[in-house]
C-alpha cells in the first residue's frame, strides 16, 4: 500500500547556486531531472514543480494583512516540491537522499501526508 508524502525543497535560491560554473549548472539540471523522471516512470512521483521565490503573505482576520513575501533571499523559503506515492516515511527519506542537489546545499523536508483532509473526506487514493 502506498501513501502520499511531500518533499519540500528549501535553500534553492540564487545565492545557493551563484558560485557554480556553467557546466556545473547544466550538470545539476540534468541530474535533477533524471532523478525526477526515474521516480515518475516508476510511479513514485505524482507531481513536482518549482515555486516562485516570492509571492504574498496573507494574514489577520479577514485576510486584511497582505504583505510581499516570503523573501526571496531566505534559505527557509520553500522553493519547490515533489509529491511522492511511497510505502512509508523510510522510502520517502531514501528517495530524498538520492537527490543530486544535496551536495550543493539543498535541504529537503520529508513530510507524510494523511490520507484524509480535516473534514474527514477521503481525498487521496486509498
Amino acid at each position: 500500500m502506498s501513501h502520499p508524502h511531500l518533499l519540500l525543497f528549501r535553500n534553492t535560491g540564487p545565492e545557493t547556486h551563484a558560485h557554480l560554473s556553467a557546466d556545473e549548472r547544466q550538470d545539476l539540471i540534468e541530474r535533477w531531472n533524471a532523478w525526477f523522471v526515474g521516480l515518475r516512470d516508476a510511479g513514485k512521483a505524482l507531481d513536482g514543480r518549482p515555486l516562485e521565490l516570492s509571492g504574498r503573505l496573507v494574514s489577520g482576520p479577514g485576510g486584511k494583512r497582505v504583505t510581499d513575501g516570503p523573501f526571496a533571499e531566505s534559505n527557509e523559503a520553500v522553493g519547490g516540491y515533489v509529491l511522492l506515492n511511497v510505502a512509508d516515511l523510510d522510502e520517502a527519506t531514501a528517495i530524498a537522499q538520492q537527490h543530486p542537489g544535496l551536495e550543493h546545499g539543498l535541504i529537503i523536508e520529508v513530510r507524510p501526508m494523511p490520507p484524509t483532509c480535516h473534514l474527514g473526506v477521503v481525498t487521496g487514493p486509498a
Binding site: P4, F9, H17, A22, N33, D47, G79
Partner: protein, 434 residues
C-alpha cells in the same frame, strides 16, 4: 478540500524530455546572450547585461531542474534576461537610456532574441562581442579575461584558476576593463573594412593567449584547462566561418591549436606524470585533429603574409607528422624557430629554439644556445629553463649539474605532473651516481 491527486505529472505535458539540453548549453548560451543583449542595449550597459545573464541562468537552473527544460530554452532564457534589463532600466529614473529601453519594450519585447534564423544572428552577435572584448584600448590579458567571462561563460573562480591568478586580482581587472569600455564608448559593432586587419590581429592574439593559457598549464587542472583550449578552438572556428575572419593568419592559428590539442591525450603517463614528446605514445594522438590541422595549415599558405601562427603551426605539424621521435625533422623545426625569433623575439621562443639546436647539433650546442639568449635572466623564475638545462646536462652525463638544475626546476614547477616528472629525473640521476 485539497485537489485530488494526479497520477500523471503535469510537468510531462510540454516537457516530455526534461534535461534535453545541448552539450555546453549554458556556456555557449552565455556568449550568445551577452552578445544579443549588448547589441540591443549597448556596451555601456555591460555590467547590467552581465547581471541579467547571471540572473537568467540562475532562474533557469531553478525552474528547469524542478519543472523540466522548456521546448525552446534559448528563447526562455532570453526573455528572462531582457525583462531583467528592462526592469532595472525602469527603476533607474536617471538613465538616459530609459526611453530607448521603453521603446524597445513596446516593439520588441515579445520578439525572441533567439530568432527563427539564429545561425547568422548568433554568429554575428558573438563575433561582435569578440571584437568588443578585443578592443584596442584594452591590454591583451584583460581582453582574454573579458572574453572568457562574457563569451565563454566562465565565472570568476574559473578565470582566476585559468590564469593562475587570485580571484580578487581578476575581479579588479574586470572592473577596470568595464570602466574603460564605458569611458571609451566602445562601439558594439563589427569594425569597418579599413580597420579590420588591425582589429583582427588583436582578436587572433587574444584567441592565441586563451589557447596558450589552457595549453601551457593544462596539466594543473586538467578538465578546466582543456576546456579553455576547446573554447579557443570554438571561437576561432566561428571567426573563420565569417567572411571577416576567413584569413590565412586565422587558418594558421586554428591549425596550431588543432595540432597541439591533438597531443593532449598522450601528455600524461598512467601514473599522472608528465611525458616528454619522445616518451609519448603516438598512437594516442588524435589523428582527426591532426588531419584538420594540416588542412587549415594548407589554407593558411594562401597569400604572402607569414605570421607567428604560421611558424608555430609549422613546428607543431613537424612533430605531428613524424612517425617517431627519431624521425622528427629537427632541422626544419630549427629553421622555423630561427624565423620566429626574427619575427617576434622572446626569451621563451629562444629557449625552445635551444632545444631544437640540441636535437640538431648535440646537447652542448643546446646549452651554449641557452647561454647566448640575450635576456635569459628573464627566464630565471621559469621552471622550464632549469628543466631544459637539466635535461641537456643529463644527456652529456653531467649528473651533478643536471641534478642541480632539476632541483631548481622542481622548486619553481607549479603543477603536479611536472613536479612528478622532475622528481623522477632527480631520483634517476641519484641512482646513477650511487
Amino acid at each position: 478540500m485539497p485537489p485530488p491527486l494526479r497520477h500523471t505529472a503535469p510537468v510531462a505535458e510540454d516537457t516530455a524530455q526534461p534535461g534535453a539540453l545541448v552539450e555546453h548549453f549554458f556556456r555557449e548560451e552565455s556568449g550568445r546572450l551577452h552578445g544579443a543583449l549588448l547589441r540591443r542595449f549597448g556596451v555601456h550597459h555591460l555590467t547590467l547585461v552581465e547581471d541579467a545573464v547571471q540572473e537568467a541562468m540562475l532562474r533557469a537552473l531553478r525552474h528547469w531542474s524542478m519543472g523540466g527544460v522548456p521546448p525552446n530554452p534559448s528563447a526562455w532564457i532570453s526573455r528572462v534576461a531582457i525583462n531583467h534589463v528592462l526592469d532595472a532600466l525602469r527603476r533607474d529614473h536617471t538613465s538616459a537610456a530609459k526611453q530607448d529601453a521603453l521603446t524597445f519594450t513596446e516593439t520588441e519585447r515579445a520578439a525572441d532574441l533567439a530568432a527563427p534564423d539564429p545561425d547568422n544572428v548568433i554568429a554575428d552577435d558573438t563575433l561582435r562581442l569578440l571584437f568588443t572584448c578585443c578592443h584596442p584600448t584594452l591590454p591583451l590579458d584583460a581582453q582574454a579575461a573579458l572574453a572568457l567571462k562574457t563569451l565563454c561563460g566562465f565565472n570568476l573562480t574559473e578565470i582566476a584558476r585559468a590564469f593562475l591568478a587570485s580571484e580578487a586580482a581578476i575581479e579588479k581587472q574586470l572592473t577596470r576593463t568595464k570602466q574603460r569600455l564605458r569611458d571609451s564608448q566602445a562601439e558594439f559593432a563589427l569594425p569597418a573594412e579599413r580597420e579590420l586587419d588591425a582589429r583582427l590581429d588583436g582578436v587572433l592574439a587574444t584567441l592565441y593567449l586563451l589557447f596558450n593559457e589552457g595549453y601551457k598549464a593544462s596539466l594543473g587542472d586538467e578538465l578546466l584547462r582543456e576546456d579553455l583550449c576547446a573554447e579557443a578552438i570554438r571561437l576561432t572556428r566561428m571567426l573563420l566561418a565569417h567572411p571577416i575572419g576567413d584569413r590565412p593568419a586565422a587558418h594558421a592559428l586554428l591549425a596550431l591549436m588543432l595540432l597541439h590539442s591533438a597531443r593532449f591525450p598522450a601528455r600524461l603517463g598512467a601514473d599522472g606524470t608528465l611525458l616528454r614528446l619522445g616518451d609519448q605514445d603516438r598512437s594516442t594522438w588524435d589523428q582527426a585533429a591532426i588531419d584538420a590541422g594540416l588542412q587549415h595549415l594548407a589554407r593558411a599558405a594562401a597569400g604572402n603574409q607569414l605570421t607567428e601562427y604560421h611558424l608555430h603551426a609549422g613546428i607543431a605539424a613537424s612533430h605531428c607528422i613524424a612517425t617517431d621521435s627519431a624521425g622528427t625533422d629537427w632541422a626544419r623545426i630549427l629553421a622555423h624557430y630561427d624565423a620566429l625569433l626574427e619575427l617576434k623575439p622572446s626569451p621563451v621562443v629562444a629557449l625552445n629554439r635551444a632545444v631544437a639546436v640540441a636535437n640538431c647539433h648535440g646537447p652542448q650546442a643546446g646549452l651554449d644556445a641557452i647561454d647566448a639568449i640575450p635576456d635569459v635572466d628573464r627566464l630565471a623564475t621559469q621552471h622550464l629553463l632549469h628543466a631544459v638545462r637539466g635535461e641537456l646536462h643529463a644527456r652529456l652525463g653531467q649528473h651533478a649539474a643536471a641534478t642541480t638544475s632539476f632541483r631548481r626546476a622542481l622548486a619553481l614547477a607549479r603543477v603536479a605532473p611536472e613536479q612528478l616528472h622532475l622528481s623522477r629525473e632527480i631520483e634517476r640521476l641519484e641512482a646513477c651516481s650511487d
